[in-house]
Amino acid sequence: MSEETGDTRSTRQARRPNYLSGFLVLLTIGSLAFAYAQWRARQRLEVAVENRYTQAFFELVSNVDNVQVALAKSLATGSPRLRVGALSDVWKQAGDAQANLNSLPVTQELLLRTSAFLTQVGDFAFVTARKTANQQEMTEEDWTRLATMKQQARELSEGLSKMLTSAVTGDIRWLQVARQADARTASGKAGGNVVTDGLTRVDEQVQHFPTLIYDGPFSDHVEDREPAGISGPDVSPAEAVEVAKRFVPFDASGYSTTVEDEIRGKIPAYRVRLEAPKNSGRPDAVVDVSRKGGKVVLMNIARDIGQEKLDLEQAVARAREFLSESGFGEMQPTFASQVGGVATIPFVGVQQGALVYPDMIKVKVALDSGDILSFDALSYLMSHRERTIPKAKISAAEARELLSPALEVQAEPRLAVIPIETVDTPEAVCWEFRGTSFGDEFYVYINVENGREESILQLIPTSEGTLTL
């Protein structure tokens, strides 16, 4: 017995460390295997991400090359038909190039100018293609611009091809570039590598391009436009406070007022905060008053919304009343949408019976009490002026004949001023037709001067009321 016990014990003693070390060995092997699996997974992911960036870079290079080739062709061809094709290709390739450029993992400031250049080349090609398709002749200026752009695209392409040499040999490690960019942002220090140096060079090169670069319909000049709807002398912050107090749709006596900030945007303005007396249960308001002319640009009233009591029509009536009390002439609501107990109603201006879409004011109404919650006159103040609506050369009945045979007109045509995407004339006077085509609703705009169809908009019903897109 005892021998047996001793035997068993010694066996047990011999086995116990075996269990332990066996367990440890297993654990080690297990964690090594786990680590290896993780390492492999990470490796695979890194390669996948690296490949994605490399693909974007290679595509960028070929896009820029194609831009240059297509620009060259558009200059060389005598056929408008081929020129339209080449210019459309420029448009597409420049757009793709811009998208690929912006998906590289480098800090944004390296790309801004190159990105803008590509957009402008694309815009100019698009507008010129349309011009050619409309059988309009290219001006001498257009030719020069195209030629200059071709030259600039070539320089850009050369700058990129210097980086390409490193890319094909695998010297560019995009993940490393991304990590360096992180480090640089954190430390605020500039450090270089093949990519950032290359792209910086390219971007600086673009900066030195002569300013002939076309400023397209979607480009800076829209941003830098002067507000047309503002005139008069500058007002002081104190005057701005008075304007704000008079404007808010409630009695602002007892409110404390502060000029929080001077906004240096498209319309320089004072930001006036109106604070309700403590425990009065009344809402605070923020009102932006333009420095020039003392006009209210934006107003926002913050409060919680209770049970809905009004419908959209009542809300529209309330908004209309507010606008006329605030001294805006005839304004017409275009559509209304409703979500979360709040109605949003854009109004457009009316001049000589025509709807002026660029003169837009958006009003938000609380559907619990009918109170005005916000007011946004930014577009109105940017574009409002006395326009002369020319006498229509084309009658409504004639314009109707020019519509698509697949459009069924649903309402009486109205005169409308709409924004269009051309450089010299940003607006066009049109007949506005509402109609349906195969179940979808549309607004179609026919120019009253030349019968051209300037724009087509589709009305899209959503759960948030009706939305014009």
């Binding site: 757009g95 811009q98 912006n102 998906s103 480098v106 800090t107 944004q108 400031e109 790309l111 990105s115 957009t119 402008q120 991304a178 942002t185 954190a186 605020g188 979607f218 480009s219 941003e223 906004i263 240096r264 945007g265 498209k266 930001r271 923020v286 932006d288 934006l298 926002n300 979500v339 979360g340 837009m360 958006k362 916000s374 946004d376 930014l378 050369k393 084309i394 004639e398 004949e401 045979p405 697949a406 709409i418 924004p419 995407e421 349906t436 085509s437 195969f438 179940g439 979808d440 609703e441 030349n450 019968g451 087509i456 908009l457 589709q458 899209i460 019903p461 948030e464 014009t468 897109l469």
Partner: protein
Amino acid sequence: MDRIEVKANMSIIRRLRPLAVGCALATLVLLAAPQGVSAQTRPTLTWGWRGQSVRLVQWKLSEWGYLKGPVDGIYGAQTYRAIIEFQRRNGLVADGKVGPATWRALGFGYSVPNRAASWAPSRPVASWTSNLELLARVVAAEAQGEPYRGQVAVAAVLLNRVKNPRFPKTLSGVIFQPRALESVSNGLVWRRTPTATAYAAARDALNGYDPTYGCIFFWNPYKPVSSWIWTRRIVTQIGRHVFAR
């Protein structure tokens, strides 16, 4: 009337066009026979004819580039040349007379039956919903705890970038641009569920409300940022964010 929305919309229309044409042809085959085509009779126009009918033809021809001269309602030499050219290119008898066949080829005098009831309206609202969803997520991740106006402002900056030539042309391009937004780089944007306020702010921004007056940058001045960014023109500060152009 936002230009970008219009553009997106046009591309939807463009995408749907082959389908629509297919459907139109199918309907024509099915319905043209019983319905009949030309309800209206139009005069046959010849040299010297004047009036509204001539103007209609002239507008069409000049939009297509056949007619070089003015639209004056008089069938003269230029109109004649344009009509002959049009007829020749469209496989019609090039006699210069605008008869039923030419009227039709010009797109007048018939309509494609498309009674609304028989067609389910297409609902391309996915892009609106996805934009709202993406914007609300970014607002929640970048501007939680900011005043409402500050939340709208962050969303507005992203939408201003879409319109700006220096940035990608789509909202997803702007949001997922590498290194553009911290919350996208570190994944916070997917971990935080947007509040109702974030949705409201995103919706306001999509409706065109822009308290930044056209800014394309924003940052928190109390956090380390690239020194370059301070060279931008600062427009305003809302809450803890500075907004610049």
